[in-house]
C-alpha cells in the first residue's frame, strides 16, 4: 500500500529533523521524505495538517500478561492499547507464567505477536531459571529465539556470586542485562518510599539506600565483567547520580525511568490510593525533580510506560496488599508531552526519549524515519487531548494514578510496517 502523509510537522530526532515535510511510504518502508519519489502514486493520502509525524513510539517496558495472566490482560487487548497509544515497538519483561526462560515460550510469544500484525514485540529473557536467582538460563538459545536482552524483572538475585556469574556469562556473548536496582533485604515488606508520607500513613518503607546499595553492587560487577547494563526504573536522585558517575567513568550503562516517576511522588499516595502502589515506590518531590532534570539532560536515556495491567480485584485491597503496577501504554505519549510542556523542552528532545533513544537502549535499528527505514510511524495531534478513564483506555488494565486526568496529545494514526494499524477521528 502506498501512503502519502502530507502537510505534517515531521519530527525525526535521530535525523535532527523538525520541519514541515511530507513522508512517502511503499512496501512497508519509507521511500521518500520531503519530495515524492519518482512516479509515486499514493493509494491513501493522510492529511496531517496541524499534526506531528514522528517515528512510532518505542516502549521499553510493557507487560502483555501472556502467557499465564490472561485474566489481567491478553495480547489482543494490550496490542490494541499499544497502537492506540502510538507505540509500534515494545519490550516485555520475562515475568510471565511460566517465566520466559525457555526458548519455546519465547518463540510462541513472538509467533502470537506476529500473527496479530501489530506492534513489534521484543521479549526480554529471564537471566536465571524461573527468575529464582540460582541457575543461569540458556541465554544463547533464548537470544536465538528472539530475546533482545536479559532481565530479572522485579525479582532479585540475592546471591552475589550467582549475579557475578550471570553477568559474566551474558558478557561472553555481548548480551545486555536490564536490572532493577533494589536490595531485596532492605526492600523486604516495604510498600512505599521510606519517608514522611510512609511515616505518617504507617506504611512499611523502602529506603533509598535499597536502590543505591544494589546499584553500587551492579556497577562493580559491570567493572569486573564488562557486561553492558541497562538500569531500569531509577527512582531516586541518589540512584541517578550513581548512574551519572558510571557514565562519566565510561562504563557501558544506560538507564530509564517510568512515566509515573516522571510526574508523581509519595504525595500522590494521598488516602492510600492503591493506584499509587508501584515498584519501585514513588519517592520524594526532590527525587522527582532530579529525574525530570536527568531526562532533559539525557542522563536518563529513555522514558518508558512500565505498562502493568492489574485486575480490579487485585487493586481494591488495602494499600500494602494491593498488587503493584500501573497501566501505561496509552499514556506514554501524553505524559511525555505533558513533561515537555512543563519543563519547556523542545518537542524533538522529548520525542527522542521515546523513539531514537529508546531504540539505542534496545540496540535495534528503529525509531527513525530515514529513507529505507521500516515504516513505523505515529501521527498525533499535539493540541488534542486524552481524557483518562476506564472507557477511554483500550488496555484491559484500567489501573492508573492518572484516572480522571486530561492529558495533552491525541494519536490520530499509527502505522506499522507501512499499514495503518490504528486511526481515530479528531
Amino acid at each position: 500500500m502506498k501512503i502519502h502523509i502530507k502537510n505534517g510537522r515531521l519530527i525525526d530526532p535521530a535525523n535532527s529533523v523538525d520541519a514541515l515535510k511530507d513522508v512517502f511510504i511503499a512496501a512497508g518502508r519509507i521511500v521518500g521524505v520531503g519530495a515524492a519519489p519518482e512516479g509515486f502514486s499514493a493509494n491513501r493520502v493522510i492529511d496531517a495538517t496541524g499534526l506531528v509525524v514522528c517515528p512510532g513510539l518505542i516502549d521499553l517496558s510493557a507487560r502483555l500478561r501472556e502467557p499465564g495472566y490472561e485474566y489481567k490482560a491478553t495480547l489482543e487487548s494490550e496490542m490494541a492499547a499499544a497502537v492506540a497509544g502510538g507505540v509500534t515497538s515494545l519490550a516485555c519483561p520475562p515475568d510471565t507464567d511460566p517465566v520466559l526462560d525457555e526458548p519455546g515460550l519465547v518463540e510462541m510469544l513472538k509467533h502470537r505477536a506476529r500473527n496479530l500484525a501489530s506492534a513489534h514485540v521484543y521479549p526480554l529473557g529471564a537471566l536465571t531459571v524461573g527468575l529464582a536467582g540460582e541457575r543461569l538460563t540458556e541465554m544463547a538459545e533464548l537470544a536465538e529465539a528472539g530475546c533482545i536482552a536479559f532481565s530479572q524483572a522485579n525479582a532479585q538475585v540475592t546471591d552475589t556470586r550467582v549475579l557475578f556469574r550471570a553477568l559474566q556469562y551474558a558478557a561472553t556473548f555481548g548480551y545486555k542485562v536490564w536490572m532493577q536496582p533494589e536490595d531485596s533485604f532492605l526492600a523486604r515488606d516495604g510498600v512505599a518510599h521510606e519517608g514522611e508520607v510512609a511515616t505518617r500513613l504507617g506504611l512499611p518503607g523502602i529506603p533509598i539506600c535499597a536502590e543505591t546499595i544494589a546499584l553500587s553492587r551492579l556497577l562493580e560487577l559491570v567493572r569486573e565483567t564488562g557486561v553492558a547494563l541497562h538500569v531500569k526504573r531509577v527512582s531516586s536522585a541518589a540512584g541517578l547520580e550513581g548512574v551519572a558517575r558510571a557514565k562519566a567513568e565510561g562504563l557501558p550503562v544506560t538507564c530509564d525511568i517510568s512515566i509515573n516517576h516522571l510526574h508523581l511522588s509519595e504525595q500522590d499516595i494521598r488516602y492510600f490510593n492503591p493506584h499509587a502502589r508501584l515498584i519501585p515506590p514513588l519517592r520524594t518531590l526532590e527525587d522527582r525533580e532530579a529525574l525530570r532534570l536527568g531526562l532533559a539532560e539525557g542522563i536518563v536515556d529513555a522514558l518508558c510506560s512500565d505498562h502493568t495491567p492489574v485486575d480490579d480485584d487485585a487493586k481494591q485491597l488495602p494499600f500494602g496488599e494491593a498488587e503493584p503496577g500501573a497501566t501505561g501504554l496509552e499514556l506514554l505519549l501524553p505524559l511525555t508531552l505533558k513533561w515537555a510542556g512543563e519543563a519547556q523542552q523542545p518537542l524533538a528532545t522529548a520525542l527522542a526519549r521515546i523513539t531514537s533513544d529508546a531504540a539505542r537502549v534496545l540496540g535495534i535499528l528503529a525509531g527513525r524515519l530515514s529513507a529505507g527505514a521500516v515504516a513505523d510511524v505515529c501521527v498525533f495531534d499535539p493540541l488534542g487531548s486524552f481524557k483518562v478513564s476506564p472507557a477511554s483506555l483500550k488496555s484491559q488494565g484500567k489501573n492508573t494514578p492518572f484516572l480522571g486526568a486530561e492529558l495533552p496529545g491525541r494519536v490520530r494514526y499509527t502505522l506499522i510496517e507501512g499499514h495503518i494499524a490504528y486511526e481515530s477521528g479528531p
Partner: protein
C-alpha cells in the same frame, strides 16, 4: 480524592484517623465524652441513642480487649452488636475485604468498627461505601496496621485533659516502639492539633521512624534527658516480635535503657502522669511498681475509653 472521613458538608461521616481533623472537631468529641462518663456510675448503664442500630465489630486482627470495649460502648448505647473475627492469613483467603463488607451491608449494618493488620484498610471500606452510595453507614477505625488508632488517641487526650486541663502548657513524651505503633501516630496527631507545644518521642534509633521529626516532634534517644520536665509520660507496648526483626537485642536491654522505672520517672515533673494503652508488659516497658503507683492513670484510661467510644459512636450515628 476527597477526605473520606468527612461528608459533603464537612461533617464527620467516619472516624478513620486523627490526621486531618481540625481542633474543634477533636474538642467536640472530648466535650461530648464528658457526660458519657457518668453513665458508668449509674445502675442502668444504658442510653437509648443507638437503639435499633446494628454495630458490626469487624476484626481482621485479633483483639479481645479493644473489641470488648467497643462492644460495651455500643451496648450501653442500646445498639445491637455483632462480632466478626476474621483470620487475616493469606492462607485462609476466602472472601475479599470488600465482598465481606458488601455482605454485611446486605444485613442492614449501620456501623462498622474495623480492625485490620494492613494500614489503610478502613479507608478502602469508607471509599467503597461512598462509591456504593451507602451514606448512612459509618466506619470507625479500631486500628489499622501501623497507621492509626484514633479512639485510643482520643481517650488518651481525654485522660490528659482530665488531669492536666490545659494542653497548651504541656510537655508530653511518648516512649517506646514508635515505628510500629498506630497508637503513637494517633497520639502525636492529636497532641499537636490540640496545641501541645512540645511533643517528644523517646526510643532507640531502630524503633523511631524516618522523618518522624516532620510530624512535629522532638526525637530523644536518651530516656533521662527525654523525660526531663515532662508532664505526661505515654508508654508504648513492646511486642516480642521486635527481637526477631533485628530491631532489638533483648527485652532486658530495652528495659534497662527505655523501661519506665521510678528513678527514670524522677526526671519528669513531680506531678507527671503515666499512661499506657495496654496491655502492659510489666518489666519490659514499665516497672510494676510504677504501673501500680500514684502517677499511673492507666485504669482511668480504660474507663474514659468507653465514654469516648460512646461519644464517637453517638456523634457519627446522629450525623
Amino acid at each position: 480524592m476527597i477526605n473520606p472521613q468527612l461528608d459533603k458538608n464537612g461533617g464527620l461521616q467516619h472516624l478513620l484517623t486523627i490526621d486531618g481533623l481540625p481542633r474543634d472537631v477533636l474538642t467536640a468529641i472530648l466535650d461530648t465524652a464528658a457526660p458519657f462518663t457518668e453513665v458508668a456510675e449509674r445502675e442502668v448503664k444504658k442510653l437509648p441513642l443507638l437503639r435499633g442500630k446494628s454495630v458490626f465489630n469487624l476484626f481482621f486482627e485479633n483483639s479481645t480487649r479493644t473489641r470488648t470495649t467497643f462492644e460495651i460502648a455500643a451496648k450501653r448505647l442500646s445498639a445491637d452488636v455483632i462480632n466478626l473475627n476474621i483470620g487475616t492469613s493469606s492462607a485462609s483467603k476466602g472472601e475479599s475485604l470488600l465482598d465481606t463488607v458488601d455482605n454485611l451491608c446486605a444485613m442492614q449494618a449501620d456501623m462498622f468498627v474495623v480492625r485490620h493488620a494492613v494500614s489503610g484498610a478502613p479507608f478502602l471500606i469508607a471509599q467503597h461505601l461512598a462509591a456504593c452510595g451507602r451514606d448512612h453507614i459509618h466506619v470507625i477505625n479500631a486500628g489499622d496496621g501501623r497507621h492509626a488508632h484514633p479512639t485510643q488517641g482520643l481517650l488518651d487526650m481525654y485522660t490528659i485533659r482530665h488531669y492536666k486541663k490545659d494542653f497548651t502548657r504541656l510537655v508530653v513524651a511518648i516512649v517506646g516502639d514508635v515505628l510500629h505503633s498506630r497508637v503513637a501516630r494517633s497520639q502525636i496527631g492529636a497532641l499537636i492539633t490540640l496545641g501541645v507545644p512540645e511533643v517528644r518521642v523517646i526510643g532507640p534509633k531502630t524503633l523511631i521512624p524516618a522523618d518522624v521529626g516532620k510530624l512535629g516532634v522532638r526525637v530523644f534517644h536518651d530516656m533521662r534527658s527525654g523525660l526531663k520536665d515532662v508532664d505526661v509520660v505515654m508508654m508504648l507496648r513492646l511486642q516480642s516480635e521486635r527481637m526477631q526483626g533485628a530491631l532489638l537485642p533483648s527485652p532486658q536491654e530495652f528495659y534497662k535503657y527505655y523501661g519506665l522505672t521510678a528513678d527514670k520517672l524522677d526526671c519528669a515533673r513531680p506531678d507527671a502522669i503515666v499512661m499506657h494503652p495496654g496491655p502492659m508488659n510489666r518489666g519490659v516497658e514499665i516497672d510494676s511498681a510504677v504501673a501500680d503507683g500514684q502517677h499511673a492513670v492507666i485504669l482511668p484510661q480504660v474507663t474514659f475509653g468507653i465514654a469516648v467510644r460512646m461519644a464517637v459512636m453517638s456523634m457519627l450515628a446522629g450525623a
